[in-house]
């Protein structure tokens, strides 16, 4: 019975779409200008969306399967251990974000750019449904369908406020997401052809061709923020409204790892070439994201770069697991828990930025509390001892230690320091934000508090009996905090010293280099197309002139008469009658 929760988990948000939209199909259209009501539905539908998914994560036992062969191209819903963890943290982040969206974001006149609208709620629920579907679907159709639904609906979340920067971010996001989806489609088609199954990971392992692996890495790499496919991420995550940023960074980008764990032969075949490549790409991603993130002004941009860096770390670990399949049991669990920890903490941080901006006036108790929790979440993200970050990272250590690259531990330690600095920068920037208080933030703050509490309790779930896990990662943290304190001190004494660095690199970093190139290609293409168009136009002109000569002459008398409809009609009647007679006649000799 509880197996059906796997279906309800993602169908339920779809069912809520209509009540949440606030659309009135029936009204007096003579006077009403628009079907979309200025205020979304008064009931917090979007907050109810993740409830069945959360229930499924808690109640459905691992190993449950629900085959629905008639649905789509043969759907097979199932919950394995990985999917359970994913579903749990994904549902939690969506729940907190949903409460924030439903009860925190203000409704308002439709012309107000930041007003929440029925449209936002609809797209929020659609992305949510896609996200859950791809987690509980064991077949690749479910994954792809959920992935596409989530990716395309999220466009509307990114551009929600309609500002030029949001529209630009949305454009970059959509183009890259579509490129990723197309690559993923091709990769999945080839996967299905090479393995002969649409449920990879269940049959015997077949070696995938290099092209297939490359397409899968590229297709999902866009979502994961793999440098240089990350261009959309630092633009889109900050452009979206707060609850949308939380789910974009907290859950949606994690999906890429889930896809790789499912579709690549993780733990079954050794892929040294691809594994090393992915590990290096992950390290490169971290190396780029951390320094670029440090020079940002907007706290949400800093968080976006931090997400890219964290994804880089997980990609590195996944790459190492691909090199050495024996590490898989430990490595996969480590990646999944790390993804969960990061999802919860990052979702909490994004929501916290929104609360810092709006919940309570500056200097109030609420604001002090919010800042305190933000510091805690930042510490957790940076992997401070006694936090979930340290516990989650502890599980990745064996994989890093076993790597044949002995230097990798040192590199990771340096990036750990970088992460601490990035979080220090984030706290610095958040602290200096000027809140614009709005009333009624009780529920969003409560939901956010729940999320933060889960981050605090997280280590009990995975590292209860391992005291050494609690204490790990102290050295990088100490160094990082030391440097950050020194920098803060200098900045306080000599504010001008660091000013040139702030905003040195615009969000979207490499995009600034790529855009002139794209513009040049576009200009060249336009010139070429223009020439082509001119030639084509001339050819068409000649053909049309010839055509007019033949058909443009007035019709002769006979033809004109035939064209009159009584004549034409009568002819039709005649022909039809003939056909009928023939049909009847044909029966007589025995029908052939």
């Amino acid at each position: 019975m509880s197996a059906w929760l796997l279906l309800i988990a993602w169908v339920w948000p779809l069912l809520l779409v209509w009540p949440a939209s606030g659309v009135r199909f029936r009204q007096d259209w003579g006077t009403a200008a628009s079907a979309l009501s200025p205020r979304p539905s008064a009931l917090p539908w979007v907050a109810l969306g993740p409830v069945p998914a959360l229930a499924a994560a808690l109640l459905v036992p691992v190993g449950t399967e629900l085959p629905l062969p008639w649905l789509f191209l043969g759907t097979h819903l199932a919950l394995d251990a990985t999917a359970q963890v994913y579903l749990a943290f994904t549902a939690l982040v969506w729940l907190a974000a949903g409460v924030y969206a439903a009860l925190g974001e203000r409704g308002g006149p439709p012309e107000a750019p930041t007003a929440r609208s029925g449209r936002f709620d609809v797209l929020f629920l659609l992305s949510m449904a896609g996200n859950f579907w791809l987690i509980v679907g064991a077949d690749l159709f479910s994954f792809y369908a959920g992935f596409a639904m989530m990716g395309i609906a999220a466009y509307g979340l990114v551009v929600h406020d309609g500002s030029p920067s949001a529209l630009w971010a949305g454009k970059v996001y959509l183009v890259m997401a579509l490129l990723g989806e197309v690559a993923l489609f091709a990769g999945l088609v080839m996967l299905a052809s090479e393995t002969g199954t649409t449920r990879p990971g269940t049959g015997e392992v077949t070696a995938l061709s290099n092209a297939t692996i490359a397409l899968l890495l590229l297709g999902l790499g866009v979502k994961a923020g793999l440098v240089p496919l990350h261009l959309w991420l630092p633009l889109a995550h900050p452009a979206a409204p707060v609850p949308a940023s939380a789910v974009l960074s907290g859950t949606m980008i994690k999906v890429a790892l889930l896809g790789w764990l499912r579709f690549l032969p993780v733990g079954e075949l050794a892929l040294p070439g691809w594994g090393h490549w992915l590990a290096l790409a992950g390290l490169g991603t971290m190396t780029l994201a951390l320094p670029v993130g440090l020079v940002q002004r907007d706290p949400k941009v800093i968080l976006a770069y931090s997400s890219i860096a964290k994804m880089g770390l997980m990609m590195t670990v996944l790459g190492l697991v691909l090199v050495e399949p024996a590490l898989a049991p430990m490595g996969v669990a480590g990646i999944v828990f790390y993804a969960a920890q990061h999802g919860l903490a990052k979702g909490g941080l994004f929501l916290g930025v929104g609360l810092r901006k709006h919940a309570g006036p500056a200097g109030s108790m609420t604001q002090a509390l919010i800042l305190g929790v933000l510091v805690f979440l930042a510490l957790a993200l940076a992997g401070a001892p006694f936090t979930s970050g340290a516990a989650a990272k502890y599980d990745l250590k064996p994989v890093l230690d076993a790597a044949e690259w002995t230097w990798i531990g040192a590199v990771i330690a340096v990036t750990a320091v970088g992460t601490v600095l990035l979080m220090a920068r984030f706290i610095w920037v958040s602290w200096r934000l000027q809140p614009h208080a709005e009333p009624d933030w009780l529920w969003p703050v409560a939901a956010w508090g729940l999320l933060a509490a889960l981050v605090a309790l997280f280590p009990f779930a995975i590292a209860f009996g391992k005291p050494e896990a609690w204490l790990s990662n102290g050295l990088p943290l100490g160094i990082g905090v030391g440097i950050a304190a020194a920098v803060a001190l200098i900045a306080a004494l000599q504010p001008k010293l660091f000013a040139p660095f702030v905003g040195l690199i615009p969000p979207g970093d490499l995009l600034a280099l790529v855009m002139p190139l794209l513009r040049a290609v576009k200009a060249m293409g336009e010139v070429f197309l223009e020439d082509l168009g001119r030639v084509w136009g001339r050819l068409k002109g000649i053909a049309l002139a010839a055509f007019e000569r033949v058909f443009g002459t007035p019709a002769g008398d006979v033809e004109r008469e035939l064209r009159q409809w009584p004549v034409a009609g009568a002819l039709w009647v005649g022909i039809s009658a003939l056909l009928l007679l023939l049909l009847l006649g044909a029966q007589a000799p025995g029908g052939g």
Binding site: V23, F25, R26, Q27, D28, W29, G30, A33, S34, A35, L36, P69, W70, L71, F72, L73, G74, E111, R119, F141, Y144, A145, A148, M149, I152, G156, V159, G162, L174, L178, L179, E181, V182, A183, F185, A186, V189, M190, A192, S193, A211, F547, V550, F551, W565, A568, G569, W572, V573, S576, A577, L579, L580, L582, L583, G585, A586, Q587, G591, G592
Partner: protein, 501 residues
């Protein structure tokens, strides 16, 4: 008893729209109710008959009507699995389009003429679907040309007349080529019956040169209606026709007749193995791929909504030809299922385009800002159709795309994935901006030519529900693709029979 019924059913299906059509010509212009009754009775009767036929064919029953029209020339109407696919599509969409057309032409003139030819057009399409030999196919193919001409020219404006003339010039030339090809083939083999697996396999290799030439002629003839580049010129021009006609031309009747003809010639005349040996599939594949990309690129440059949709049709119909050009049952399934999927998606889009034009006077993409707020249901239907065209799951278009891609890879033709990827991106390039305008841009102060129908909904019921229903079909065809009697399952049945699996 059952023998009689089996021999009559195909003929009866053709007559179920032909007879009402003939009577409609005689109905006085003002007799709105009588004409509507005739239309709907025909459409529903046909639907019932087709239902009987689906069941019979599924059980393996043979339905065949044979009429000798001259010594040696036999008109054969025969229902195999492939015919049933096309017949069902035409019949269901005819019913929906009839309802739509009744609403659309509420206040226009010459309605009896319109609906008369409309019924003839559907009869011809069904005739094409049921044709059991090439001769019958050619006859109905020509009737279709003649029956659609007055529909394209219906409005009688100089523009409409011009568009219709171009249409006629193209399709008559195509018909002529088809006739030449059919006669030529007949001189080699005698009567050309459609046989699952092909009927030319046993021919001596000496004739192969001629067979290639005949294929070229037949393809040129069929390619006109299927709008293969460079024979597609008529399609955007015939956009002057009223919306229900465009819907029918694009989704069901004309372009599908061409595509269906290509499928018939490849599978049931040449046989896919022989066609592959002769290198004909490669030619078809290249032509189809080029058309897919070219049509989409042109669609991006169009501001007129109907023109954009027209070029999109040019591109999408070639998916069918692409599926046909790949050797292997999976690709066959992809091509055949797209025959249905493209039909329901494109008819949805054209209905919506008609609704925008009729209700708001919006005919261009650049006028569509905020249209989703004024016409939410129509725009919702449009969104489903457009996303389906791009191939976003779980809408029908994805199913076609998946099978085409998988079929290409299984056949060792990996370039198909490149074509599909390009087409997906281009489709996104010309559909997503429309959706962006419709849902995300603010409403304009006033619409070009707004018309209030004094209903509780955004537009007249007869205009509103047809696209909503077909959009639901698009979703169901995707979501229930693996359920019994879905288009996909039926396409699998055809592929199994064609490949003798």
């Amino acid at each position: 008893m059952s023998w009689d019924y089996a021999a009559l059913l195909p003929g009866a299906i053709v007559l179920s729209s032909l007879l009402p059509g003939v009577f409609i010509f005689l109905v006085r212009e003002e007799s709105h109710t009588l004409r509507t009754v005739l239309n709907l009775v025909g459409a529903i009767a046909k639907l019932v008959l087709v239902g009987l036929m689906i069941y019979g064919v599924w059980l393996g029953q043979v339905f065949e009507t044979r009429i000798a029209i001259a010594p040696g020339l036999t008109l054969v109407l025969n229902a195999d699995a492939l015919s049933v696919l096309f017949v069902t599509l035409s019949t269901v969409l005819w019913l929906v389009t009839t309802v739509y057309a009744i609403g659309y032409l509420e206040h226009s003139t010459n309605r009896s003429r319109f609906f008369g030819f409309f019924s003839l057009c559907v009869s011809a399409t069904v005739g094409i679907a049921l044709s059991g030999n090439l001769l019958t196919f050619v006859i109905f193919y020509e009737i279709l040309t003649l029956a659609t001409y007055p529909l394209v020219a219906h409005r009688g404006t100089p523009e409409a007349t011009r568009g219709a003339k171009i249409y006629l010039a193209y399709t008559l030339s195509g018909g002529l080529l088809l006739l030449v090809g059919a006669v030529w083939l007949r001189t080699l083999t005698g009567p050309v019956d459609f046989v699952e697996g092909g009927m030319l396999g046993g021919l001596s290799p000496d004739l192969h040169g001629q067979l290639v030439a005949i294929f070229a002629v037949l393809l040129a003839g069929l390619g006109v209606k299927a709008a293969l580049v460079p024979l597609h010129g008529w399609l955007p021009q015939s956009m002057v026709a009223p919306a229900p006609v465009s819907s029918l031309l694009h989704a069901v009747a004309v372009v599908k007749a061409g595509a269906f003809g290509i499928v018939r010639v490849v599978y049931d005349v040449y046989g896919v193995t022989l066609a592959s040996q002769l290198g004909l599939l490669t030619v078809l594949g290249v032509l189809a791929s080029f058309t897919i990309v070219y049509g989409s690129i042109l669609a991006m440059t169009q501001d007129g909504l109907k023109k954009r949709l027209a070029y999109s049709t040019v591109s999408q119909v070639s998916y069918i030809a692409l599926g046909t050009s790949l050797l292997g049952p999976v690709a066959t399934v992809g091509g055949l299922v797209h025959l249905v999927h493209q039909g329901i998606m494109k008819i949805t889009l054209f209905f919506c385009a008609g609704n925008y034009a009729e209700t708001l006077g919006v005919a261009n993409v650049s006028q569509m800002d905020g249209v989703g707020r004024r016409m939410p249901l129509t725009t919702l239907a449009f969104t489903v159709g457009a996303l389906g065209m791009i191939g976003i799951p779980p809408i029908a278009g994805f199913v076609s795309k998946w099978y085409l891609g998988l079929g290409g890879v299984e056949a060792g033709q990996h370039w198909v994935l490149v074509i599909l990827a390009t087409s997906t991106l281009l489709n996104a390039g010309y559909f997503l901006p429309i959706l962006y305008r419709a849902w995300f841009r603010p409403l304009p102060a006033s619409w070009p030519k707004e018309h209030h129908f004094h209903t509780r909904f955004e537009t007249m019921g007869a205009l509103l529900w047809p696209p909503v229903i077909t959009a639901v079909f698009c979703l169901l065809a995707g979501l229930l693709a693996s359920a019994p009697f879905s288009p996909l399952e039926w396409a699998r049945l055809i592929a199994e029979r064609e490949y003798g699996l």
